[in-house]
Amino acid sequence: MSKGIVLEARHLTRKFKMANNRMVAAVDHVDLKMYEGKTLGIVGESGCGKSTLMRMLVQLDKPTEGQIIYRGKDITNDKGKNLRENHRRIQMVFQDPMASFNPRMKVAEIVSEPLLNFKLIKKKEKEKEVKRYLEMVDLPEEFMNKYPRNMSGGQRQRVGIARALTLEPEVILCDEATCSLDVSVQDRIIKLLVKLQREKGITIAFICHDVALVQSMAHELAIMYLGNIVERIPGDKVHKEARHPYTKSLIGSIFDVSINRSIAIDPIESEFTRALDLPHGCNFQNRCPHCKKICTVEKPQLTKIDYQHFVACHLYE
């Protein structure tokens, strides 16, 4: 067991059956390592398999192939009691908290439910505990008696985070936790997550499609394209050293506030290939400006090009 690795995915693959018995690989041989107290950002367009990957990591979905390793132990096929223990250590914050809460439960119930489920507290301690967790996410204690519908999006997301924290998990997976929020609220949620990570040493995986946001808070970034990870890069290097053409085009599509208006924006044209009819070779070939002959034949593998920097592209082999 390597030191510091909390959660690891090895050759994780998830295939879905489509009409005519065709198979779609939503996640295709993904290798990931999540280190203690660090943040891993996962970036990609919709449909690239980010959420499927997350769902497998929290064990809401079973991989077709591959293993999930938690602290050196294979947990892929855990059932019953073990699975329950895993859920306790790996928690998730969802994109739309409104959809993940029971609309008829008050905040106090939402936050204390996991604690009561695992018999960590007694019923009469409920109030005290809820107060403690609300304070942790900077919400006033009056919120205990509110319903989810009576709160703003940002407040709901905080409750979602509080609920994920209650079981003191080692890993929190955030699936686009901030993308439905306004920028200023988003900023506050990110600050909160970073603060909690510092205090408790939680490992965070953060899914998002905004590269600029993720790079500001992640130690490492994994860029996904159609089920594959095409680049892994330390967060502080993204701006200057991103190599993969897809990563570059993602960065090129960001609208910065101080953007130079005289320069025409240069987005990658054409739509996403559907995961069903994937071409031979590199998945990105039909949108790539540097497509060579080899790209249509052979699929590039993740190769190390620098310290902690991996790229899957024939340009850098």
């Binding site: 920028v183 988003q186 990110i190 590269v211 946001l213 790079q215 993602l250 506030v257 924006i265």
Partner: protein, 261 residues
């Protein structure tokens, strides 16, 4: 072209959602309205189109479009105006389109509501519009159901529909916030082209300050129903005077900006 004076909109007996909103706009100008959700951005746009939700009502002020006041128009007069001289792009055009009908039929119906032409010509017109919006195979799109198209494609269909009659004013309510960053860039480019080719005036509501700064000539910042700051693009972005504008600008994630870890 467009002149809004002291617009105040109320829903029922609640305090006004939009208060004292004034704006004047020249043809071919792009104005963006920035602000958090609940700040009244959408209400402004909707009152321009005379499409306030039930209970919503303009209690004060006036809206003048090409020299005539829009308030107090009859339903029939509104119908003449909407679609032809003024049109709207929604946040998710997929919701605007009927999910169980093909694009073509709806497009033809839309064109024939406003113009007296044959179905065949209307179809042709639709195909041309779609192709102008960089949807390469127009015929194919016309024969598709909305769910067969991706989010970006649906949004282009929405823009194509809005642009058929080359309106003088295009209202866009968060046209890119449901899209991926790459698609967003494509749609923004599309809208900039509209301005250059047809001299369309655009009011875009967005919470993405980056998009606003790239597109617009004027920027309005709204907070709880009021304009807290307005001016041309440079003034607002580089010399913000209101604290709220400053916080907004600070919270936009930047590539070379601050890092938390």
């Amino acid at each position: 072209m467009l002149e809004i004076q002291h617009l105040t909109v109320k829903y029922g007996y609640h305090p006004p959602s939009v208060k004292d909103f004034s704006l004047s706009m020249k043809p071919g100008e792009i104005v963006s309205i920035v602000g958090e959700s609940g700040s009244g951005k959408t209400t402004v746009i909707r009152s321009l189109l005379g499409a306030l939700p039930k209970g919503g009502q303009v209690v004060e002020g006036d809206i003048c479009f090409e020299g005539e006041s829009l308030l107090g128009k009859s339903d029939e007069e509104w119908r003449q105006l909407r679609g032809k001289r003024m049109s709207m792009i929604f946040q998710d055009s997929g919701v605007m389109i009927n999910p169980i009908r093909k694009i073509g039929g709806q497009f033809v119906e839309y064109i024939r509501t406003h113009e007296d032409i044959s179905k065949k010509d209307a179809w042709q017109k639709g195909v041309i519009m779609l192709e102008k919006m960089c949807l390469s195979n127009g015929e194919n799109i016309m024969n598709s159901y909305p769910f067969q198209l991706s989010g970006g494609m649906r949004q282009r269909v929405g823009i194509a529909m809005a642009m058929v009659f080359q309106p003088k004013l295009l209202l866009a309510d968060e046209p890119t916030s449901a899209l991926d960053v790459t698609t967003q860039a494509q749609i923004v480019r599309q809208m900039m082209e509209l301005k250059e080719v047809h001299n369309t005036g655009i009011i875009i509501v967005t919470h993405n300050l980056g998009v606003a700064s790239y597109m617009s000539d004027q920027i309005l910042v709204m907070q709880s129903g009021r304009i807290v700051e307005m001016g041309n693009q440079e003034d607002v972005l580089y010399n913000p005077s209101h604290t709220y504008t400053k916080t907004l600008l600070e919270s936009v994630p930047k590539m070379e900006g601050k890092r938390y870890v």
